[in-house]
């Protein structure tokens, strides 16, 4: 029973991860947000050309 539950949870977790596009080698899509912290001007994929950058999708929970 425990194994079944664990397997179901793992499957759910895998499904969630699979939702993200792989995008390997593709141009980084443009992004936008309503309000920015720690940025003088809103960063964009176009403005960051010439820089290596990490784009992280986060939540506070």
């Amino acid at each position: 029973m425990v194994r079944t539950v664990v397997a179901a949870l793992l499957a759910a977790a895998t499904a969630h991860a699979a939702g993200w596009q792989e995008l390997d080698g593709a141009p980084c899509p443009e992004f936008a947000a309503g309000r920015w912290f720690n940025a003088d001007t809103p960063p964009t994929a176009a403005a960051l050309r010439g820089r290596v950058f990490l784009l992280a999708f986060i939540c506070d929970t």
Binding site: G19, P27, E30, F31, A32, G50, L54, F57, I58
Partner: protein
């Protein structure tokens, strides 16, 4: 999210930028990330749904956190569930010159601090002076530091040369500006200054740069347009006008994609 601050500490001085996006409210992010966790990376709150749909497969659920590593050409080179340095360690090592790799003589503390802040030219100048010191241990560490600075400069210069070879002038300009600043006093900075003058004197390069500047303004207009159909139509026309005006440039290709996308 302390991982992101750590990534900035390690690779920020050598050029890495970190951008975080969230659906969360600005008030929550300010309280948790900015005030409590002292995040130093850019955080965009109230992410636009259109942004999210560009990164997630249709009708699928995606769990947070997730991150993408993007190279200097704007292409995704890595992605994964964690946002820690482990996930991108190999790719980051490929992009950025490895750190010093060993402890240095205490007399080189200031030089080391300069190196870690990205003031490579300053660290190099200090190392060159210390290399003549009669203390053999100090001289050996200074030699090591000088070599690291020079390797770093060579690496940065190769990145700029690649952009120049492909006529990617916007990226090349950013890199030569960075070279001039970070490697001041070194041969790489002189090379960068000369390349900048060449770019500025080249009409084709100037045209490309101007085209990208205009394109970025239109992209901003598109973002501000929201769902306003009239404004979006005006933006589409602006893209088309740019395609005609700057035909043959990389910016016109990008503008064309955006006008039909």
């Amino acid at each position: 999210m302390v991982y992101l601050n750590r990534l900035l500490d390690q690779y920020g001085p050598r050029g890495l930028r970190v951008v975080a996006l969230t659906f969360d409210e600005a008030s929550d992010i300010e309280r948790v990330f900015v005030k409590e966790l002292r995040a130093r990376f850019a955080i965009g709150c109230g992410m636009e749904p259109e942004t999210f749909t560009r990164f997630v497969r249709p009708n699928e659920v995606a769990a947070f956190p997730y991150s993408y590593l993007v190279d200097t050409e704007g292409k995704v080179v890595g992605h994964g569930e964690k946002v820690g340095e482990e996930l991108f360690a190999k790719a980051l090592e490929d992009f950025f010159d490895p750190a010093l790799g060993r402890e240095l003589h205490p007399a080189l503390a200031a030089a080391r601090a300069s190196y870690e802040k990205g003031e490579i030219g300053k660290a190099w100048a200090d190392a060159v002076k210390a290399e003549a010191d009669p203390d053999a241990a100090l001289a050996a560490d200074a030699k090591h530091l000088r070599a690291r600075c020079e390797a770093n400069a060579a690496f940065a210069r190769r990145q700029a040369e690649k952009r120049l070879a492909t006529k990617d002038y916007p990226a090349a300009m950013k890199l030569v500006d960075e070279l001039s600043r970070a490697y001041a006093g070194m041969e790489a900075a002189s090379w960068a200054a000369a390349k900048k003058r060449e770019i500025q004197a080249d009409p084709a390069a100037r045209r490309e740069l101007t085209a990208w500047q205009e394109l970025e303004k239109i992209i901003e207009r598109e973002k501000k347009a929201g769902g306003d159909r009239k404004k979006l139509e005006a933006v589409r026309k602006a893209y088309q006008a740019l395609v005609k005006k700057y035909h043959g440039t990389g910016a016109s290709v990008e503008a064309y994609k955006r006008s039909v996308g």
